[in-house]
């Protein structure tokens, strides 16, 4: 097989101007200053979304109701990262968790701290570790730690 010349091309994603739904995320961010986690609740099926959503993804109806959820929750799944996707090893293993907060129905992803990989299990109780200084940014929620 004869190798042929290479020419280049690009998909100019830098030219894009995205609008990403932010109503629910902004609601959550605002309240995080006060260590509160506020989402929205579907009045039809009762699903509580955190971060909130302007409509119910299951029922296809508009959502107007807010709902506060706990900063404690349960690990629904987790993974321990050893290398990046290209195979370069990480300096030390990192634990990422999917957590269902008490009172909420969605799983949200976070970094797990103050816990060894061998102590991790699905069903483990965890809580949010808040930053001392909070500004209404995702940084306010530093990590999940054991309850």
């Amino acid at each position: 097989m004869e190798e042929t010349k290479v020419v280049t091309g690009a998909w100019e994603l830098s030219t894009f101007k995205f609008r990403v739904e932010g109503e629910g995320l902004r609601l959550m961010l605002e309240n995080m200053k006060d260590k509160k986690l506020v989402g929205t609740k579907c009045s039809k099926c009762g699903t509580v979304y955190i971060p909130g959503n302007f409509y119910c993804r299951k029922c296809h109806v508009k959502i107007d109701e807010q709902a506060e959820v706990s900063d404690h929750g349960t690990v629904m799944s987790y993974t321990v990262g050893y290398s990046d996707v290209r195979g370069n090893p990480l300096e030390e293993p990192r634990i990422a968790v999917e957590v269902k907060l008490d009172g909420g129905d969605t799983w949200i992803m976070g970094v797990m701290q103050e816990c060894k990989p061998e102590d991790m299990e699905i069903g483990k109780r965890v809580k949010v570790k808040w930053n001392e200084v909070r500004s209404g940014s995702l940084q306010d929620m530093k990590a999940f730690i054991p309850e």
């Binding site: 020419v7 091309g9 998909w11 100019e12 994603l13 030219t15 894009f16 101007k17 995205f18 609008r19 990403v20 739904e21 302007f54 409509y55 993804r57 299951k58 296809h60 109806v61 508009k62």
Partner: protein, 382 residues
């Protein structure tokens, strides 16, 4: 063809150059609006077909977040990555098998604020040649096609002004169009700046945000859903060569082929005599007569007479783009579906200021690719 398929309802977004919305919100509002009008909810939809494009949406698998906002959670959904007339073709076939009674066709193109629409054609070009040469783009290719078309019949460049003035005049009456230039004259069109000669800015579509949804239903189900079903009488699709240097750009063989299939299915023998109106995705002014000729609606070589006589105007003998067509709005992927919806609006007698006198049979058209390389034609009736 066994069984009939109807358009049970549709919902067109008001289009604009910068719609302050997200993909999810636009589609949620379009679908819930349609469901409300029909008195149904998502349970009444058997299958969902989305027409979006990864390069327009700026993401891999562009439908990946769009299923919940259209009501498709835990339901059957697929994506046709083309102009949505092709998604209609798919929904229509699914219903014809008897396996589904309703199909919701969903499309959006945020090509005003989100992306430069011209890039969408850039990415379709031969990556090893045309994209390296960097001479060809959607506008330069269209200009060459316009030159080829005008040159073939010796038409004056002012014909393009007449076409655009007619379309933009119609568009100003239509509630869904983005470009609203009330009372613009051909002379004023002729004063807009040149992009690529002979095409001026107002001969070309405006970058547009917009979307459209349409519910198709089997004959039995249509009767329950609406008092005003619009029937799909025929459908045809075809494609031309890629290299513009290989093509006679003054004609559109694929449109002619697609139209023949659609007319045969609909039992139409003399389209110019039997069709009452046409909604054509002519995204550049010259494409309207060019495609109307390919559709058998205009006699070749008579475009100057047709436009000067008002034959194709709203109150003319054979109105073409009474909505104003794609020169008023071109949300890529949705444009052909909006043409269908506008045609249905005429057939249902709901087109208000754009309403043509006689509306029994309509032709709608959608296109993809450079210089309308790929075309889809649908014949609608009541």
């Amino acid at each position: 063809m066994d069984g009939k398929v109807a358009i049970a309802g549709y919902n067109i977004s008001p289009c604009s150059s910068n719609m302050v919305t997200s993909r999810e919100r636009l589609l949620f509002d379009l679908t819930t609006g349609l469901f409300e009008e029909l008195g149904i909810d998502r349970d009444a939809v058997d299958t969902f077909i989305i027409a979006t494009n990864d390069f327009l949406d700026g993401r891999t698998i562009s439908n990946v977040f769009l299923d919940p906002p259209i009501g498709a959670y835990m339901k059957d959904e697929t994506k046709v990555e083309m102009d949505a007339v092709n998604a209609i073709a798919y929904g229509w076939m699914r219903i014809l098998t008897g396996q589904y009674d309703t199909a919701l066709i969903v499309s959006l193109g945020l090509c005003g604020h989100q992306i430069s629409p011209y890039l969408h054609i850039d990415y379709t070009l031969d990556a090893t040649y045309d994209r390296q040469l960097k001479l060809l783009n959607e506008l330069s290719a269209a200009a060459l096609q316009a030159g080829s078309y005008l040159g073939k019949y010796g038409y004056p460049a002012e014909l393009l002004d007449e076409i655009a003035a007619k379309d933009l005049g119609n568009a100003a009456l239509d509630p869904y169009q983005a470009r609203r230039l009330d009372g613009i004259s051909a002379e004023e069109v002729g004063k807009s700046r040149y992009l690529y000669e002979p095409l001026r800015e107002l001969h070309c579509y405006p970058p547009t945000d917009g979307g459209c949804v349409m519910l198709l239903a089997s004959e039995d189900r249509a009767g329950e859903l609406t008092d005003k079903p619009v029937w799909i009488l025929g459908m045809g699709r075809s494609i031309d060569k890629y290299y513009i240097g290989d093509r006679d750009l003054a004609v559109s063989p694929s449109t002619t082929q697609a139209a023949k299939v659609a007319y045969d299915m609909a039992g139409i023998k003399d389209p110019a005599g039997e069709v009452d109106l046409a909604e054509i995705s002519s995204i550049f002014a010259h494409q309207e007569p060019l495609l109307a000729e390919a559709l058998g609606l205009f006699e070749e070589g008579k475009a100057v007479d047709i436009y000067s006589s008002g034959d194709s105007a709203i109150d003319g003998r054979l109105p073409v783009n009474p909505s104003g067509g794609a020169l008023g709005a071109h949300p890529i992927c949705s444009t052909g579906l909006i043409r269908m919806a506008e045609a249905a609006r005429q057939l249902r007698g709901e087109a208000e200021g754009n309403q043509v006198k006689k509306a029994g049979v309509a032709v709608a058209h959608g296109q993809d690719g450079m210089c309308a390389q790929q075309n889809a034609v649908v014949v609608l009736g009541i």
